[in-house]
């Protein structure tokens, strides 16, 4: 039972990260009816951008030393007083990394947003009005391009990137079971949920969000009502890329920076389809579900099983509910 609670919590925390990745795919799909198969590789770029801005650049000679390691006198003093491996120590470590974390996240979000914008501008916008098949296949081609470009730009695999939040161990009891979690995981999940909620609210209530929804409903009508469809497309891509950058940074701290981060895109694609493609809520539920199932698979069957869970789950869910958990059946006019 104790194990079960522990694994469940781990799974749900991982699930929130999937949801954050999924929000990028869903937003682009909602606005443009294009499923971005290369989203995982944009996330991988986010992770590498975070690595670049948080580790590589601060490490350069010409950068001020506080960027790499911020050590004001009070921090040094406080650290000397703190006992080894205490939560306080972890917080102090985090504070001294804070400048480069902020620099890294900002840099990653901006760089990724520029990347997303470029993809939209150069590859997607010329295809407006063409079949969505062609646009989807372009994102498939993008998989190869991004994966290869990564190999050209970052030749070495990175080792360590700073955690976004203090990585203090957290122990508490839940239903009488001892639970052990890492502070960074909790903070990551919180970031993911907050961002997810913010985007859903934005799409639902803001003017820009309404434009996205109108475009999703009917491109031509939206266009003729004075909504700039290309602008909507651009916004959706930038939004996806920016959330992807944060998701990438989080994944980088959890799983290390490596090309295999691109594969997360495919498992999240499975999650998105499971949830219903255009339903944020459905996708969120699916993400938590897959996180939970992965944790269970890891617990009962071993780590290697966890990676196929989303793929098996999507096949089963689609067989039972073809349009996903909360997806809408498209009504066809004949």
């Amino acid at each position: 039972m104790g194990q079960f609670v522990q694994f469940t919590l781990n799974g749900l925390l991982a699930g929130t990260i999937y949801a954050l990745i999924a929000v990028g795919i869903v937003s682009v799909y909602k606005a443009t009816r294009v499923v971005n198969f290369a989203h995982g590789y944009m996330i991988m770029f986010g992770a590498y951008f975070y690595y670049t801005f948080a580790v590589l650049l601060p490490g350069l000679e010409l950068m001020p030393s506080w960027l790499a390691k911020w050590e004001p006198d009070w921090l040094i003093a406080a650290r000397e007083n703190a006992p080894m491996f205490s939560p306080m120590g972890a917080v102090l470590d985090w504070v001294s990394n804070l400048p480069r974390i902020i620099f890294g996240i900002t840099g990653a979000v901006i760089a990724c947003a520029i990347l997303g914008r470029m993809i939209e501008r150069m590859l997607m916008r010329p295809m407006i009005g063409q079949s969505s098949f062609a646009m989807i296949m372009i994102t498939v081609g993008l998989i190869s391009v991004l994966s290869g470009a990564k190999g050209l730009i970052w030749t070495a695999d990175a080792a360590f990137v700073p955690h976004i939040a203090p990585n203090a161990p957290v122990r508490f009891e839940l239903f009488g079971n001892p639970v052990f979690l890492f502070g960074a995981d909790l903070a990551n999940a919180a970031i993911a949920v907050i961002l997810f909620t913010a985007i859903v609210l934005w799409v639902r209530y803001s003017k820009g969000g309404v434009a996205i929804r109108a475009t999703a409903e009917d491109q031509q009508t939206a266009y003729s009502m004075g909504i700039s469809v290309p602008a909507v497309f651009g916004r959706a891509w930038v939004l996806a890329a920016a959330t992807g950058a944060i998701a990438g940074a989080i994944l980088a701290t959890r799983n290390g920076v490596s090309p295999s981060l691109g594969l997360f895109g495919f498992s999240v694609l499975a999650i998105v389809l499971m949830g219903g493609l255009d339903s944020y809520v459905g996708v969120f539920i699916a993400a938590l579900m897959v996180g939970f199932l992965e944790a269970m698979a890891q617990w009962q069957l071993g780590g290697e099983w966890a990676e196929v869970v989303p793929y098996i789950a999507v096949l089963i869910v689609i067989l039972i509910r073809p349009h996903g958990l909360l997806g809408q059946k498209e009504v066809e006019r004949i």
Binding site: V35, F37, L123, P126, M127, S132, F133, A134, I136, M137, I138, V140, G141, L142, I143, S144, V145, L146, S147, G148, A149, K150, G151, L152, T155, F266, L269, A270, L273, L277, E304, E307, V308, P310, Y311, I312, V314, L315, I318, L319, P322, H323, E332, I334
Partner: protein, 357 residues
Amino acid sequence: MINGNLKATYAADEQVLNNAYKRAFVYGMALLCAALPFVANDYIILVAAQMGIILIAVVGVNVVIGYTGLLSLGHAAFIAIGAYSIPILHTLFASLGVPEGIMPFLAIPLAVAISALVGIVVGLPSLRVKGLYLAVATLSANFIVIFLIELDAMAPYTGGFNGINTPEANLLGWQLDTQREMFALIAALAFVTILGVQNLFRTRVGRAFIAIRERDYSAEVLGISLLRYKLLSFAISAACCGLAGALFAYFYARILPEQFELVLSLQLVAALIVGGMGRTMGPVFGVIIVVMVPELLKYSFGIIAGGSADVAALRAPVQEIVFGALIIIFLMFEPLGITQIVDRGFRSLNRWPFARG
């Protein structure tokens, strides 16, 4: 359409090779493939055999993506199934006492049948959701198949991560132990596959596939059962990939699970898009490009790098970028692929000097 290509009977009009260009091209290719084992050097044979194997797979992918309009991104899974069937079936046959000389005659059709069966299972829900579902389902199938091959529990049969040694084909005592001999088999089967698939599209079966691609509700109104024909299309394409896999296993001495990952699926799709979707010659042109690109890169990097390991390490990423860029560029500027370019060329050749284009 080429002008001045008139026919007197409907039978003549129904011919596929209905003009001199097409006839010259096909017979020329056949002649070239027949001559190749006798005249070409080992390197050319190796490249040509690789082309043949991938060609068979791309012809299959063309049936499902090009003709039926169902997006699939996981066809490498079926190649893997075909390839792994061979060593497993050979071990099984050996234990049953089947003579070695007839093993390939049983193993190849069985490998093809197993792939087709798995194809039907994967394609089964494609009726319920259009478009994307199948892309994600096949992608998932690709991951699951590789996972199962690598699974420890399967390692006694598949060799797990480390791969497995594959047997040589022995056709009634003729041991195909050189790549040259294998090439002859591959070329023959590639011709048969293209011919078979081309034939499909001269009859109601192939027309039904195209009808589903173009407009599925109006296909239904003509009495075409979507379920049956989508599954049929999927089974045929998986069968072609299974055949390619079986030949892959016979051709190489060892197969590894990593050879059948997503990269291969994307290569198949790239070949199809570059060559031309939904056209008989599309896979042929596409495969030539897709196999030649790595070879050309290898060659040019050999010249540039001159032995420098740093530069040579950039070849793999450059190759990936080129594949991706080919997909994107063709989709944006010539969605009908090289076939269309060739058609245009023939058309203007035919009209010259009276008109251009």
